[in-house]
Amino acid sequence: MLIKVLFFGVLAEVTQTSIKHYRDVRSFGDLRLRIEDDYPEMVHYNYRIAVNNEIINEDPVLNDNDEVAFMPPFTGG
């Protein structure tokens, strides 16, 4: 699967990027491991996942071309 990954808030600073594409992703677990491999600091942060703009509380089932967002706690207002 091709997965578009978005990083927000402090995570965009940790990864030094806000958008990154991962190819041949097998599952969300696989995606997370590859991200943590690329950015080991990620494990220290608290975040939620949204897939295609919807928050998913368990490990999501991914489909080709999904957009997966890594979101620290919201601090708007």
Partner: protein, 146 residues
């Protein structure tokens, strides 16, 4: 509410004024409750905040804002209209980053609905703030999940 609530830079007085001017057309409304969030000259340790930089997951903000306004209309059937404006980008101390207006037939509904909506905006909208200090260092606000 299909229009985008995000605006670049501060919510200016002229934007606020033009929204407030529109309330006189709502002749079935008796009460308007407004909340304005403003960047405060906070001390964090020994540093003084000079600005906040907001970033947002824009498509999701639209979707979530739509959901929460629908929830407010469903809970308060006396609410006639809702306006929300939220900044992205740099907002300096003394400038506004959030404007919420709820118009209702009766004052108590306007006030309750506005208060609830402000809380939902803070909880539900994927927006992040980075505090920028007078020495140009910065720090991400680290609230935990509600």
């Amino acid at each position: 509410m299909s229009e985008n609530i995000l605006i670049n830079g501060p919510v200016t007085h002229s934007k606020i004024s033009s929204v407030i001017k529109s309330i006189s057309n709502k002749i079935e409304a008796g009460g308007h409750s407004v909340f304005i969030g403003q960047v405060r000259a906070d001390m964090v340790g020994r540093k003084i905040v000079k600005a906040i930089e907001y970033s947002a997951y824009e498509n999701m903000v639209k979707k979530e804002a739509d959901k929460i306004t629908k929830m407010i209309y469903a809970e308060f059937n006396d609410v006639k209209s809702i306006n929300i404006l939220h900044s992205v980008g740099i907002v300096k101390v003394g400038e506004a980053s959030l404007f919420v207006l709820v118009s209702a037939g009766h004052r108590s509904h306007a006030i309750q609905a506005c208060s609830k909506l402000v809380n939902m905006i803070k909880e539900k909208l994927p927006i992040w703030k980075k505090e920028i200090f007078e020495d140009n260092t910065h720090e991400w606000k680290q609230d935990s999940f509600a």
